[in-house]
């Protein structure tokens, strides 16, 4: 008997709980590696601009004179090139997407003045 082969599966799904999640009532579980959005730790950024140079979509803009680091969230493809090349390791991949929006927003982060440069010996000790 070839017909109704799927009967068992359909019957099972009648009594099982749904395969989908009731988002946003039940929040989405993010994986540790999820490439969500780029985050920056302002204090350790030295405004070298390597991230902007390495960004394949030119989403990052670094203005040394105004001491700002800016990212166009909609332009960013979360490839992680900036995170890999950052010499100070101040960029990181946050495993969560940014909120959806109706406008293309650029996030601008002010970079505080660096504290007095640590002496080479102190830097080596760290």
């Amino acid at each position: 008997m070839g017909t109704f082969k799927i009967g068992g599966v359909v019957l099972k799904s009648l009594f099982n709980k749904p395969a989908t999640l009731m988002y946003p009532v039940i929040p989405r579980k993010w994986e540790e590696r999820t490439r969500g959005s780029i985050g920056i730790e302002e204090a350790s950024c030295i405004l070298c601009g390597i991230c902007a140079k390495k960004c394949p979509t030119h989403a990052i803009a670094v203005a040394k004179d105004q001491r700002t680091w800016a990212i166009e969230r909609m332009q960013c493809i979360q490839c992680g090139s900036c995170v890999e090349t950052c010499p100070k390791k101040c960029l990181r991949m946050i495993p969560e997407y940014t909120a959806p929006g109706t406008e293309k927003i650029t996030d601008v982060v002010s970079i505080p003045e660096q504290q007095k440069q640590p002496k080479p010996e102190a830097a080596a000790a760290e």
Partner: protein, 359 residues
């Protein structure tokens, strides 16, 4: 002899995931001739090689297709690695093979769902896609992305997967294997499904070769052709043998893909057991100079990558030829003499990916 009528099919049609237009010349209810036309979604991705450095270009090539994105990334990297005479570490090759085969499982499950949708079996469609979600979750866990992975780079891969996670993937696949079997049995044995596929759109072995069909379409017509036999990745070490069917009809094309799902799961299992420790990438120095051609077996068939460099960090030319491009002539052949009601199913059996084709 009935009156000839031309019925436009597509580019917007419920069964088509992507736009292709067919002018169907019909007599009564039978298709006499099909004239395809594409060009609705050309994106000009190849031209971007002039603006993106060869290492950045991989992000663009990955976006040629949303389903076989990993395969395209690998194909491009293989072409550039060949150009620069780079030997990829074995562990990276294993990881590439595992991700590529996972892509095949999810691509075929997606296609099985679409196929079920084409003949109006909605619940089967939903269940195929439900199982596909499991694979997408595995991708997110290992690469960080569900569709675009960004893990392949010239010289290797960017992320390592520890053996424990690989074991988890194999367990996960074995867990859903029985469920996949339950669903695929419907395609193979259900009488109502067989009525729509058995003996429909027969493509003989000779015609398949004459029209240059590739991938599951060619293999369903008995043509032994699979680019995984050419030494890419680690398929030789995994004891890979292509799946061949003789029927040449929609049923055979479905059967080839179903068997490939299980074959891919086995390949992943063997690869996860045999993966050696070691580096996942090597540093690539210099700029590409010369010409190179790489061929990859994507879930849909053979894809062709041509790279030409002249010593600068920008390639001179990058060409991608995708499997659907090759299968459209075979589709036109299959459509001749088919019933008008079978056209959606026939179009689906070549697993059309028009975005790939037009790049």
């Amino acid at each position: 002899m009935g009156k000839r009528t031309i019925i436009p099919f597509g580019p917007q049609h419920p069964v088509l995931p992507e736009p292709i237009h067919l002018d169907l010349v019909i007599e009564d209810e039978t298709v006499v001739e099909a004239i395809p036309s594409i060009g609705f979604i050309h994106r000009g991705l190849e031209k971007l090689v002039e603006k993106k450095e060869y290492a950045e270009m991989v992000y663009v090539i990955e976006r040629v297709c949303g389903i076989c994105s990993f395969g395209h990334g690998w194909g491009y990297c293989a072409a550039v690695e060949g150009l620069m005479k780079v030997e990829v570490p074995t562990r990276a090759n294993y990881l590439r093979t595992i991700w590529h085969e996972l892509s095949r499982v999810h691509s075929h499950l997606l296609w099985l769902g679409l196929m079920a949708d084409a003949f109006g079996f909605e619940s089967l469609f939903m269940h195929c896609w439900r199982l596909r979600e499991t694979i997408l979750d595995m991708f997110e866990k290992t690469t960080g992305g569900r569709v675009i992975f960004s893990v392949c780079k010239v010289g290797g891969v960017r992320k390592d997967v520890d053996n424990e996670t690989l074991g988890g993937i194999v367990d996960g696949l074995n867990k859903i294997k029985a469920e996949i079997k339950g669903l695929t049995d419907v395609f193979i044995t259900d009488k109502s499904v067989k009525n729509r596929t058995l003996g429909v759109g027969v493509l003989s072995k000779e015609k398949a070769m004459e029209f240059g069909a590739v991938g599951p379409v060619a293999r369903a017509s008995g043509v032994l052709q699979d680019m995984r036999l050419t030494g890419k990745g680690v398929y030789d070490e995994l004891g890979f043998e292509p799946v061949i069917e003789e029927g040449g009809d929609c049923y055979a094309r479905t059967a080839v893909r179903i068997r490939e799902v299980f074959q891919s799961i086995e390949l992943i299992e063997t690869a996860a057991k045999g993966i050696p420790d070691g580096d996942i990438a090597i540093a690539v120095k210099g700029n590409p100079d010369g010409e190179f051609v790489a061929r990859m077996e994507q879930p849909r068939g053979e894809a062709f990558y041509y790279a030409k460099g002249s010593g600068s960090k920008f390639l001179d030319r990058m060409r991608v030829r995708t499997p659907t491009n090759q299968n459209i002539p075979a589709l036109v052949q299959m459509l001749q003499g088919a019933d008008l009601a079978d056209v959606p199913v026939l179009v689906l059996t070549i697993d059309p990916c028009i975005s790939c084709t037009e790049r």
